[in-house]
């Protein structure tokens, strides 16, 4: 089935944006990689500043109290502006995060709940912004309130049209501002629930960016608030036709269009947008077969070590009682939760778990068939570079042009340490593993577990007999080809300074692992 053009374009567009941000900030501080956690930082700023502003807000005189906050209250103008800019940053970060998940095809299957709950969080954020702007009760707040009332009046919900509140016959009742304030305070609770649902299927969810980046975001938004405080519009006046209103585009980009349409058309468009958003998991879903099939467990090889459930970023693996007479537990993969990232394959010393074609045994077989003959035939064997399949193709091509033997793995966390050892034993002078930036890993925790396995003895660890000087982990970030090549060149220089490798007689690593397991054959 041909993917629609916009689906195909979304990924290159995102990659181009990522590349630009990587060039500017480096992959460690690229805020686009941190879009989800940036939204949480913005939410925390909103909570802090909102609580302070609430102390000075008066339901009986909303605009007057806002004007007082702006002019008289200590730090009032800056904190109000910071509140405003944080709300904008929140909406923008959530939209970028959704786009990233969509473009990287991380919105379907077991991730559907995260997709839908993320949409709920975005919708709640927009409504929250709406109520916040109405609270100010300047001309923009009035415009939003009037449009909301117009839309609600089209629904058979209220006996008296809400729009009558703004006719100018009488002052806008305090009850209206009370309900608005109630929603503005209550909705963050809903946001919290949405956020909890959003990460509920993740193991070890990351909620905040690195501390430095968090403070950098706070500082940047504060500077913006000080340098250009958010303007307060004219006071709302139902009996005056305001010519221009200062519209907040991130939260109310839809307003000028909505005002031109009849309410039913607005609801129609809204329904279509919501339906399309909710249907994304179904529209982008792919068959769970082949490389996208859920991981399998070979119970004959499973020793019940409990490592794969610990490493699985999706909590898709549990240990259950065995059906044979062996005294250990056995791993069991829940296909409804497994996203086929393959991280379990790298965690299993006996190579008894992993997606079809990507288990440790499959990796060794592929190396033997495709890479090792080349290494043995070469006069000077090249270094082997394991790259994440998600890495930019241009980087892989550049590495090949440098003479490296590039081998793709599904995810850096998918790479089994035995594959590294096998490559070295077969004559490769070094093995460089280039992973995606940690916050851009489709498997969520690939680079993290890879490093732990190669350097910190986490199961399935790289054996002590392997010379660590010949193994290195680097990062391959979009737009940072120079960084990728520098990493490779440095590694090649370091390796060339070492004594030449003498290929060892190849151990049958598969057999070596399997003989520890009663009843398992080496060719299993």
């Amino acid at each position: 089935m041909t993917r629609p053009r916009r689906l195909r374009l979304s990924r290159p567009a995102l990659a181009a944006l990522d590349a630009a941000a990587n060039r500017l900030y480096g992959w460690r501080w690229n805020p686009l990689y941190q879009s989800g956690t940036v939204a949480v930082v913005a939410l925390l700023i909103l909570l802090g500043t909102g609580l302070y502003l609430l102390l000075f807000y008066r339901l009986g005189a909303p605009f007057a109290s806002m004007a007082r906050i702006d002019q008289d209250v200590w730090l009032g103008r800056w904190l109000r502006s910071l509140h405003r800019y944080a709300s904008d940053a929140f909406i923008i970060a959530v939209v970028i995060h959704a786009w990233r998940m969509f473009a990287q095809r991380r919105s379907w299957g077991p991730r559907a709940l995260a997709w839908v709950s993320g949409g709920v969080v975005l919708a709640a954020g927009l409504v929250e912004a709406w109520t916040g702007f109405v609270m100010v009760w300047d001309s923009f707040g009035e415009r939003l309130a009037r449009e909301g009332a117009r839309l609600f009046d089209a629904l058979p919900l209220f006996s008296e049209p809400i729009s009558r509140i703004f006719s100018g016959e009488a002052a806008v009742p305090g009850a209206f501002f009370f309900v608005n304030l109630f929603m503005h305070i209550g909705l963050p609770l809903g946001l919290g629930v949405g956020l909890w649902l959003h990460v509920s299927k993740l193991a070890r969810p990351t909620l905040l960016p690195p501390r430095t980046l968090s403070w950098a975001i706070v500082a940047a938004l504060t500077l913006a608030a000080i340098a250009r405080p958010a303007p307060l519009g004219d006071a709302a006046d139902p009996l005056r036709l305001t010519i221009n209103t200062p519209i907040n585009l991130p939260a109310a980009w839809w307003l000028p269009w909505s005002e031109q349409l009849p309410p039913l058309a607005v609801f129609g468009v809204l329904t279509m947008l919501v339906a399309t958003f909710l249907l994304v998991p179904a529209l982008t879903a792919r068959a769970r077969s082949g490389t996208l099939a859920a991981s399998f467990v070979d119970p004959r090889l499973c020793t019940g070590c409990n490592q794969c459930p610990q490493d699985c970023p999706w909590e898709a693996i549990t240990m259950v009682a065995r059906t044979d007479e062996r005294p250990t537990l056995v791993a069991q993969v829940d296909p409804a939760l497994c996203v086929s990232c393959g991280i379990c394959a790298g965690s299993c010393a006996p190579m008894g778990v992993g997606p079809v074609g990507y288990s440790g045994r499959d990796q060794l077989d592929a190396l033997r068939m495709l890479v090792l003959p080349e290494l043995r035939a070469a006069v000077v064997a090249p270094s082997v570079v394991f790259c994440c399949a998600e890495a930019p193709a241009s980087h892989r091509a550049a590495l090949r042009a440098r003479g490296a033997r590039v081998r793709e793995v599904r995810c850096a966390g998918n790479l089994h340490s035995s594959a590294v050892e096998l490559a070295l034993r077969s004559g490769a002078p070094g093995v460089l593993v280039l992973a995606c930036p940690p916050r851009d890993c489709a498997g969520r925790e690939g680079p993290k577990w890879l490093g732990e396995r190669l350097y910190n003895d986490r199961e399935a660890e790289l054996q002590p007999r392997v010379d660590r000087r010949r193994v290195r982990v680097g990062t391959m970030a979009a737009g940072d080809l120079r960084g990728t090549l520098e990493c490779y060149d440095q590694f090649a220089r370091d390796v060339s300074a070492l004594a030449p490798v003498v290929p060892a007689s190849e151990l049958d690593l598969t057999l070596e692992c399997a003989t520890a397991v009663p009843g398992a054959g080496g060719d299993a």
Partner: protein, 211 residues
């Protein structure tokens, strides 16, 4: 190497400042709402529609067939009136609407909110709000002086109460015909409100401007 690093940091700072400037600018973009040289006439009021009923006095046999607590001296059946709103500005018809009461049976209060855009200046405004049904409200037929014998016992004083209730309901309803013919001056961006004063029972232009 150090120079490249400094350049990169400088570029990152410039990009950050530019991003923040865009964020701040997008946070308050002046977009037009109303035309620069416009005014408006707004008609806004809430009132009960008149109840148009046909009433009759039930026969003695009909009354006795009911439990005492359910007996009525007069039984009425009817519906709420609907109204035609016509608005003319300088003699030109700008609004011609049918206004009904709220609710599925249109027996709830009717809420009117109409805004007509005008050019600023002095304008002759003519508003007519008239009942569309011809029937007289609260018409009671066949009650023949309200059967005085029924106005005793548990019905004692009921006739008077019913008359009082009907009078109250009639007073609460909008009159069958409301008209206003006046000349108003509309300033630029000004909305002139026209409403129904339930005490005076006529259309008025309130003097004060509300928040």
């Amino acid at each position: 190497m150090a120079g490249r690093r400094v350049l990169r940091v400088a570029l990152a700072l410039v990009a950050t400042v530019a991003g923040l400037a865009v964020l701040a600018a997008a946070s308050a973009v002046d977009l037009p709402w109303h035309g620069a040289n416009t005014a408006a006439l707004r008609l806004a009021w809430s009132a009960h529609p008149e109840r148009i009923e046909v009433c009759r006095a039930p026969s003695k046999a009909e009354v006795e067939a009911l439990g005492e607590h359910m007996r009525q001296r007069v039984e009425c059946d009817g519906r709420s009136a609907t109204y035609a709103l016509r608005v003319r500005v300088n003699g030109v018809l700008v609004g011609d609407e049918v206004v009904r009461g709220g609710g599925l049976r249109n027996d709830r209060p009717m809420h009117l909110l109409q805004t007509y855009a005008l050019w600023p200046g002095r304008r002759r405004i003519q508003v007519e709000f008239s009942r569309r049904e011809r029937a007289t409200s609260d018409s009671v037929s066949g009650t023949s002086a309200a059967a005085p014998e029924a106005d005793t016992g548990i019905f004692a004083g009921r006739a008077a109460r019913e008359v009082s209730e009907r009078a109250r309901r009639t007073r609460g309803a909008v009159p069958p015909l409301l008209t206003l013919d006046t000349t108003l001056t509309f300033g630029p961006q000004q909305v002139v409100l026209l409403t129904f004063d339930a005490d005076l029972r006529r259309l008025v232009v309130p003097p004060g401007r509300m928040r």
